[in-house]
């Protein structure tokens, strides 16, 4: 069935699709990809010529290289739909998910793909992200009151404000751009934005009873964050990391350690309410 007039009422015209049909890309359009190749001993950018197809993303190009040009090119990926957070890389210097980065966005300019910088390189586009998993293990897990076995009634608003934090797909792009971790090599003193989001989700859970303020103040290193919001800019899930997670946590820590009266007051009013909201 062609795009005739018979669709009338049911289906609106879709200009996007019309464009695809009217102007299919030239069959031999080719883009140059400069991809980092190397391992712990060193490496370099190598150029690959990849045919461009309509709607292609950078991960498609990496797959093309693997399948047709060099099957040893290492990269992580799983879902190819921006749901798993595996295919993080730096595309033209910007931390991105390769599965969500359209090739046509670069208007025919060469595209450079490098591994994320903040973590040690394993090979090509694959880095050693195990530090993140060690950090996660240091965070006291969700702890409901003993004996409070549910099923629970929780107000929709109390739960919904946590959804933003729970959306995190652990792509670690925020860790990659965090100044403390990236410029100051601060993995020994700051957990990074990902785990501020994780801790915020726990601390603000209406049924959680644990306290992570000491951890945040100490090993978690929340004080090192100077709120430049770079993490937010690269978050593919659009989590408002600083305003909604880090700043409320900073306020809690400030209260707990420097203003015990306000901390007590907050406790009495129901400590799971985030301050300032």
């Amino acid at each position: 069935m062609s795009d005739g007039g018979s669709r009338g009422t049911a289906v609106e015209a879709r200009p996007e699709q019309a464009r695809w049909e009217a102007a299919p890309p030239g069959p031999r359009a080719v883009a140059t990809f400069q991809v980092f190749r190397g391992d712990r001993t060193g490496g370099e950018l190598r150029a690959y010529q990849v045919p461009v197809t309509e709607g292609m993303v950078v991960l498609d190009a990496i797959h093309y290289i693997q399948h047709h040009l060099d099957s040893t090119l290492a990269c992580r990926w799983n879902c190819k739909a921006a749901k798993c957070g595996s295919c993080s890389a730096e595309v033209n210097g910007r931390p991105r998910l390769m599965c969500k980065t359209r090739v046509d966005e670069f208007g025919g300019q060469p595209i450079t793909v490098r591994p994320i910088k903040v973590f040690p390189l394993i090979k090509d586009l694959v880095t050693d992200v195990s530090w993140n998993y060690r950090v996660n293990k240091e965070i006291p897990p969700f702890a409901p009151a003993p004996g409070d076995a549910g099923p629970w009634r929780m107000h929709p608003e109390d739960v919904e404000r946590l959804f933003e934090f729970r959306r995190c797909i652990e792509c670690f792009l925020c860790q990659d751009v965090c100044h403390v971790l990236r410029e100051h090599r601060g993995t020994d003193r700051y957990y990074g934005p990902r785990f501020m989001v994780r801790i915020a989700a726990l601390e603000m859970h209406p049924k959680d009873t644990a306290s992570r303020e000491e951890l945040l103040h100490g090993k978690g290193g929340i004080g090192y964050c100077n709120i430049t919001k770079c993490c937010e800019e690269v978050c593919p899930e659009h989590i408002t990391i600083t305003d909604n997670a880090i700043i409320p946590l900073k306020e809690r820590v400030a209260d707990a350690f420097y203003d015990p009266w306000r901390a007590l007051l907050r406790r009495l009013r129901g400590r799971k309410e985030p301050r300032g909201t």
């Binding site: 699709q17 292609m56 739909a81 921006a82 929709p156 652990e170 859970h205």
Partner: protein
């Protein structure tokens, strides 16, 4: 001891870290066993993360009339009667508790106004039954289990592919494979092994599955002597993305239809009126997938060979709240704003109902000490799985398999001995692609295999097509003897593909052989040359096992339902 591999020892080894593997590891550890958990990817990235619509469990929060009995009847009917009723009964009864348990572990779901877990309608579920959080329920499930597992004393081993189960005489003794990040071989000694390795959608070209879904666990079990069942039953999800080419097959959640999405053909007709006037868009997946297929075949398809799925009438606020990742996915990858325009969708391979045959209550396979849970196990879903039943399957049977594996392991009088000879044999097989200067490109072979599966074992099948497909797979198996890989063992995807491909070829042979035998149409298995259901076949499952190095196909009787359960089906028919 020779140190050509890294060695670990556990009471229970869990292979696979999706929902079933995580839940099994937690259960085995809680039962007192030492547990190693092996992920093929990083922790938290397993295919479960892509589950969108929800977890089916008869909580009755929205529709108080719902009960395990109705969930049981819906699931049996969805599976067209060849499910193992004993599994379905356990499943329907235990799913609610598994959901509440997730909540106790920190999982968060959408709420009813009075603060209980909200449930949404889904295909062929009589009542609103799917507990969900927007359209990212799988992420919530996997993150909750992941954060539970890391604090439970389970050892997590990431980015390891296990390629061979080790046996001591009949019994399971461990598993062997390689680790990506350093290219080392690894050997796990274990008294019991739980397979939670998921499905093998990657044998098809158009699929919602990730690269991991190559069926390693099922093929390893087969090679170790386990019996497979219902291999002909491959689910085509009705709604995958179709355009642009790079996203073809990516899932469009059934929740779009659950929340009111309408399917239309290129003429604007709401064609489900012709295929299932009662349930319409919320008919079972096999029915909707076939309907879209037919519309396209008969010339009423959309420009890229699909149907239109429209949710725009629900308005932007609703869509962005209930289907946020669909909104983002279409906007970013297809330039479509689904709050204003319809999506273009077509069937995509999504799930396998078949797999390793297990004992209903324990997950025990036919190999002593080997257990299986989740998509890799067969029996629960029969000829067609209902949406939402997979996530509850993972939890219910993951827990049971973990517990029973622990009980078995801790009860053994003598520990099995993992045989270095078997490991050395497997090493030789793994290393072969490096020993050639010329040979077959594994990616090329994989593409050819996907072509065969799509052409010959697709949504519509014929005896001739299946026979031809089988011959093609056998020819590909021969060529796979000459696979070649460049480079080293260090994180080398082309080399990984070589072993994955052998697993896939084994399973494809099983799919063809089983599909040839079942001379009827039932659920996902649609034979154009046998378009009707045959009551005789309704009493049989097709099984496959290896004997003398050859694949043998047979049948087993479907366990007959006791009268009181059969009545549940009649009551709701």
């Amino acid at each position: 001891m020779a140190e050509w591999y890294d060695a670990y020892a556990y009471d229970v080894l869990v292979i696979g870290a999706g929902g079933a593997g995580l839940r099994a590891a937690i259960a085995a550890r809680a039962a007192g066993a030492s547990v190693g958990l092996v992920c093929k990817s990083l922790l938290g990235k397993a295919h479960t993360v892509m589950a969108e619509g929800g977890i089916a469990a008869a909580l009755g929060n929205v529709d108080p009339q719902d009960s395990w009995e109705v969930h049981f009847a819906d699931t049996m009917r969805g599976g067209q009667g060849i499910n193992d009723y004993r599994m379905v009964e356990i499943f329907a009864k235990e799913a609610p508790e598994r959901v509440y348990e997730l909540e106790r572990w920190g999982g968060l779901f959408d709420r009813t106004p009075d603060g209980r877990i909200l449930q949404r309608p889904f295909g062929a579920h009589t009542y609103r039954r799917l507990c969900h959080v927007g359209d990212r329920t799988g992420l919530e499930l996997i993150r909750t289990l992941q954060d539970t597992v890391v604090h439970s004393g389970v050892d997590v081993h990431m980015e390891i592919t296990l390629t061979r189960l080790l046996t001591d005489a009949e019994r399971i003794a461990g598993a062997f494979g390689y680790r990506r990040e350093d290219g080392r071989y690894v050997l796990f000694r274990a008294k019991a092994v739980v397979l939670a390795t998921g499905g093998w959608g990657k044998v098809y070209k158009v699929t919602s599955n990730s690269w991991e879904c190559t069926g390693d666990g099922c093929a390893m079990a087969y090679e170790a002597g386990a019996e497979l069942m219902d291999m002909e039953m491959v689910q085509f999800h009705p709604t995958g993305m179709v355009w642009p080419p790079g996203v073809r097959g990516i899932l469009v959640t059934e929740a779009v239809r659950g929340e009111g999405g309408i399917l239309r053909n290129a003429r604007g007709e709401r064609f489900m009126e012709r295929y299932d006037p009662k349930k319409m868009e919320l008919s079972s997946r096999d029915v909707v997938a076939r309907a879209i297929y037919r519309e396209v075949q008969e010339g009423r398809g959309t420009p890229h060979g699909g149907a239109h799925l429209d949710i725009s009438h629900r308005g932007p606020d609703f869509i962005k709240k209930k289907l946020p990742s669909m909104y983002e996915q279409f906007l970013k990858l297809a330039d479509i704003d689904i709050t204003r325009s319809p999506m273009e969708v077509a069937p995509t391979v999504h799930y396998v109902m078949g797999g390793v045959r297990v004992e209903p209550g324990t997950g025990a396979t036919t190999v002593p000490g080997l257990y299986a849970a989740g998509e890799v196990a067969a029996g629960l879903h029969g000829a067609n799985r209902l949406g939402g039943n997979s996530l509850s399957d993972l939890l219910v049977f993951g827990k049971r398999a973990g517990e029973h594996a622990a009980r078995y392991a801790l009860g053994l009088a003598t520990a099995p001995r993992a045989d270095d000879g078997q490991a050395a044999e497997e090493r030789a097989l793994l290393a072969r692609p490096f020993e050639r200067d010329t040979g077959e490109n594994p990616y090329q072979l994989h593409e050819e295999l996907q072509e065969v599966m799509s052409q010959n074992a697709g949504i519509a099948r014929t005896g001739d097509g299946l026979a031809e497909g089988l011959q093609k797979v056998l020819a590909l198996q021969e060529r796979a003897e000459r696979l070649r890989s460049a480079g080293s063992m260090l994180y080398n995807p082309g080399w990984h593909e070589c072993r994955d491909l052998r697993f896939m070829l084994t399973l494809c042979e099983a799919i063809f052989r089983s599909a040839i035998v079942r001379t009827e149409s039932r659920g996902a298995h649609w034979r154009l040359d046998y378009p009707d259901q045959d009551p005789e076949w309704g009493r049989k499952n097709v099984v496959v096992r290896r004997a003398n190095g050859e694949m043998r196909v047979g049948t087993r009787p479907v366990p007959p339902m006791p009268a009181e359960l059969a009545r549940l089906l009649e009551a709701r028919a």
